[in-house]
C-alpha cells in the first residue's frame, strides 16, 4: 500500500510533464489526459482511504521512503512521504475537488486556444499540493509549498496578455515568497535546534528545547502560513489573484492552496502547543483577518473579489481555530474541508454566471438571473446557505464549533475571540446575502457593452453544472456527516490530539447567538439590497465602504512604502553603483591619466630641455658623490 503514495503525486506530475512538453499534437486530447490523471489520483486516494479505514486508529499512518535527496555532512534531506489521517483528509479534498474542477474546466476553457497548457498547469498544481500534504519533512513540504506558489503564479497569469493578470501573478508570487522566507528560516531554526527537519523527530523533540526557540520557529511558520493563506499582513495578493480563470480561483484560491497555511499550523501542532505566545499571535492574526476579509467582502462589486474577501475571512476562522490549540485543530480542519466544498461551489457558480454574462464580473450589472440559470442558482444558493451557517448545512456545523472553541479559550481572550467570531458570522451573512441578492434577484440590470453585444444569460453546459451539483451535495451534507457522532473528531484525533473545550456559556447558547446574528446580518442585507432597486453605478459610499473597496488601503500602503520606496532605493543604488563604486575606480583611472598628462608636458620634445635635465642630473650626481665622500 505504501508504494501507492508516490503514485498520488506522480500521476498529476506525469500529466503536467506530458501536457507541457507535448506540444500542439496534444491540443485535442490534452484536457482529457489532465482530467484522467487527476481522477486517477483521486481513485488512488480513495483506495488508500478505504485501506486506512480498515486499520486500527493508531496504526493508520503509512510511510514511504523514496530516496535520499540532499545528503551532506550533518544534513539529511530525504524524499519521503507520510500518509496519516490528516494528510488523507487533504488528499481526498485536493484530488476530489481538483478532479471536479478539471471536469468543470473542460467546459469553461473550451474556447481558449491554450486549454492544453491550462490543464498542464492544473496538474502541476495538484502534484505540488499533494507533495505538500504528503511530505514527511519540512524541506519536502517546502518544495510543494513553492510548487503550489509556482502553479498559482502560472495560473493567475494564465491570460498573461492582460497586464493586470501578469501583475497579479507576480504580486502573488512575491508576497508568497515573503512567507516562504519565513518557512525557510523556520527550517533553519529547526535544523540548528534539532539537527533535523523531519516531522516525526522534530515534533517529538519539542520538549527538549526552550520555549523561546519554539516561539521563534512557530512565528516563522505563522509568517509562512500568512503568505500562503492570505492572512493579514500578507493578504493583499488574494484579491488580485482573481485575475486568473475562475476554476483557478475555485481550486487554488478558495478550496486548497490557501488552506495550506492551516495545514502547516495543524501539522506543527506540537510546536505551537509548546509556544503559547505564538498561539496567541496566531489567534490574533486569524481574528483580524476574519474581520478584514469580511469587511472587504461587503464592499466589493466584483463577484469574484467579494468571494475572495469571503475566502480570506473563512480562512481567518480556520487560523483562529488552529491558534486555539488542541481544542481547535480538528474544527479548523473540518471547516477547511466543508469550506472547500461550498467555496469551490460558490466560485464555480460565479464562473458559471460569468460564463453566461460575457465574462462580466460586476454584480451591479447582474440581477434577476435565477430564472435564466436555474441550476447555477440552486447550487449557488445551497453554497450560500452553507457558508452563512444555515442550520443543518455544512457551514453550520463547522463554524459553530469554531465559535464555541473560541469562547472556550477562556478568560478575556476567549470573550474577545468569540465575540469577533460571532461578529464575523453576522458580517458573513450580510455580504453573502448581498451577493445573492445582487446576482440572482431584483431587476435585470445588464446592458449591451460598447460593441453592442448584449449578454444572453444561459445555463452552462453539463460539464460545468455536474461539478457544481456534486459540490452542492458536499456543501449540504458534509458538515452533518462529519459532525454527527463526532466522526471527524475521532478520525483526526490520533494525529492532531483533541481537548474538549469548556465554553463559559453552554453550546446551545452559542448556537442560538449564532442564529441571531445570522438573521440580523442577512436581514440587514435584505433591507439594504433586496427592497430597493440597485443602482448600476456604485454610489460613493461611506469612508469605510470606500476604504474597503480599496482593500482597506493595504495596497496603497504597500504601494507607497514598498513599491515606491523600493523603486527609489534601487534607483539610488544604481546611481551609487555608477557614480560611487564605479566612480572611485574610474576616478583613479582619470587621475592617473591627468597626472601622466601633466608629466607628459615635461617631455616637450626639445632636445635642449632633455639636455638640461641630464645636465642637472649629472650635477646632482656629482653633488651626491661629493657629499658621500665628505661624510
Amino acid at each position: 500500500m505504501e508504494n501507492l503514495i508516490a503514485l498520488l503525486v506522480a500521476a498529476p506530475l506525469l500529466g503536467a510533464v506530458v501536457l507541457l512538453c507535448g506540444g500542439r499534437r496534444l491540443d485535442a486530447v490534452g484536457h482529457w489526459i489532465g482530467t484522467a490523471l487527476a481522477a486517477c489520483s483521486f481513485v488512488i486516494g480513495v483506495v488508500l482511504f478505504v485501506d486506512m479505514l480498515g486499520k486500527d486508529a493508531e496504526h493508520r499512518a503509512l510511510m514511504q521512503h523514496l530516496f535520499s535527496w540532499i545528503p551532506v555532512e550533518g544534513f539529511q534531506a530525504d524524499v519521503a512521504f507520510q500518509l496519516d489521517q490528516l494528510s488523507m483528509t487533504f488528499v481526498l479534498l485536493i484530488s476530489g475537488v481538483g478532479s471536479l474542477i478539471h471536469v468543470y474546466s473542460i467546459g469553461y476553457m473550451e474556447h481558449d486556444e491554450r486549454r492544453r497548457r491550462f490543464f498542464g498547469y492544473l496538474n502541476l498544481f495538484l502534484a505540488a499540493m499533494l507533495m505538500l500534504v504528503l511530505a514527511d519533512n519540512y524541506l519536502l513540504l517546502y518544495v510543494g509549498w513553492e510548487g503550489v506558489g509556482l502553479a498559482s503564479y502560472l495560473l493567475i497569469g494564465f491570460w498573461q496578455h492582460k497586464p493586470s493578470a501578469a501583475t497579479a501573478a507576480k504580486k502573488a508570487f512575491l508576497v508568497n515568497r515573503v512567507g516562504d522566507m519565513g518557512l525557510s528560516i523556520a527550517i533553519m531554526l529547526m535544523f540548528t535546534t534539532f539537527g533535523t527537519f523531519a516531522f516525526g523527530p522534530v515534533l517529538e523533540a519539542t520538549g527538549e528545547t526552550s520555549e523561546g526557540k519554539l516561539t521563534a520557529i512557530a512565528l516563522m511558520l505563522l509568517l509562512a502560513a500568512c503568505g500562503k493563506s492570505a492572512q493579514v499582513p500578507l493578504q493583499s495578493w488574494l484579491g488580485d489573484a482573481m485575475e486568473g480563470p475562475t476554476p483557478v480561483s475555485a481550486l487554488i484560491h478558495a478550496a486548497t492552496m490557501v488552506t495550506a497555511g492551516v495545514y502547516l499550523i495543524v501539522r506543527s501542532g506540537e510546536i505551537f502547543n509548546a509556544a503559547p505566545d505564538a498561539q496567541l499571535v496566531v489567534t490574533v492574526v486569524g481574528a483580524v483577518t476574519l474581520l478584514f476579509g469580511a469587511i472587504v467582502g461587503c464592499a466589493k462589486d466584483d463577484i469574484k473579489k467579494a468571494l475572495a474577501g469571503s475566502t480570506m475571512s473563512q480562512i481567518g476562522y480556520m487560523i483562529l481555530a488552529a491558534g486555539l490549540g488542541p481544542i481547535g485543530y480538528v474544527f479548523a480542519i473540518m471547516h477547511l474541508v466543508t469550506h472547500g466544498f461550498f467555496k469551490a461551489g460558490l466560485f464555480l457558480g460565479a464562473g458559471s454566471v460569468m460564463h453566461g454574462m460575457n465574462d462580466e464580473v460586476d454584480m451591479r450589472k447582474y440581477g434577476g438571473l435565477r430564472t435564466y440559470m436555474p441550476v447555477t442558482f440552486v447550487t449557488f444558493g445551497l453554497g450560500y446557505l452553507a457558508i452563512i451557517g444555515f442550520p443543518g448545512l455544512s457551514g453550520f456545523f463547522s463554524k459553530d464549533k469554531i465559535i464555541e472553541a473560541a469562547f472556550a479559550k477562556g478568560g478575556t481572550e476567549g470573550w474577545i475571540l468569540g465575540g469577533v467570531a460571532l461578529l464575523g458570522a453576522a458580517i458573513t451573512a450580510y455580504y453573502m446575502t448581498r451577493v445573492m441578492l445582487m446576482t440572482f434577484f431584483g431587476e435585470k440590470r445588464w446592458q449591451p457593452d460598447e460593441n453592442g453585444n448584449e449578454p444572453h444569460p444561459h445555463e452552462s453546459p453539463r460539464s460545468m453544472t455536474i461539478p457544481m451539483i456534486v459540490l452542492a451535495f458536499g456543501s449540504v451534507f458534509a458538515g452533518g456527516i462529519f459532525a454527527i457522532g463526532d466522526r471527524f473528531l475521532h478520525w483526526l484525533e490520533p494525529v492532531t490530539e483533541h481537548a474538549h473545550g469548556h465554553p463559559p456559556v453552554s453550546a446551545l447558547t452559542v448556537t442560538l447567538a449564532t442564529m441571531v446574528v445570522l438573521v440580523i446580518g442577512a436581514g440587514t442585507a435584505y433591507v439594504q439590497y433586496g427592497r430597493r432597486p440597485m443602482p448600476v453605478v456604485a454610489p460613493r459610499g461611506s469612508l469605510l465602504t470606500r476604504a474597503a473597496r480599496r482593500d482597506l488601503l493595504q495596497d496603497d500602503f504597500n504601494h507607497v512604502v514598498l513599491v515606491r520606496g523600493g523603486e527609489h532605493l534601487t534607483r539610488s543604488l544604481v546611481y551609487v553603483d555608477h557614480t560611487l563604486v564605479d566612480g572611485v575606480v574610474n576616478g583613479t583611472a582619470a587621475s592617473m591619466g591627468g597626472l601622466s598628462g601633466r608629466l607628459r608636458k615635461l617631455q616637450n620634445g626639445y632636445a635642449r630641455s632633455y639636455a638640461v635635465s641630464m645636465f642637472g642630473g649629472v650635477a646632482i650626481l656629482i653633488a651626491a658623490t661629493l657629499l658621500m665622500r665628505a661624510v
Binding site: 607628459r600 617631455q603 616637450n604 620634445g605 626639445y606 632636445a607 635642449r608 639636455a611 638640461v612 645636465f615
Partner: protein
Amino acid sequence: MNPVNYLYLAALLFTIGATGVLIRRNAIVVFMCVELMLNACNLAFVTFSRMHGNLDGQVIAFFTMVVAAAEVVVGLAIIVSLFRSRHSASVDDASLMKL
C-alpha cells in the same frame, strides 16, 4: 703656480661649453660648444698627465681628438642633411619626439 689651475680652467671652459649647448639653438654653434667641452676635457687630461708624470693622459687626449674628429664629421653631415630637408639648423625645430 700649481698646474691645478689648468684644471680649474678646464672646469670653467667645460661649464661654459655645457651652458652653451643648453642655450644656443643653432645646431652648428651647439656643436662648437660640444667641441669646447671636449677641448676642456683634453686640457684636463694633459694636465693630469703632467701631474702624474706619465703619458697615458696624453694618449687619452689623443684618442679624444680622433673621436671628436669622427664625431664632427658625422655630426656636420647630419646638420647638412637636416638643413637640406628642413631649411633650418635650429635644434628646436627637430622636436618630433613630442606627442
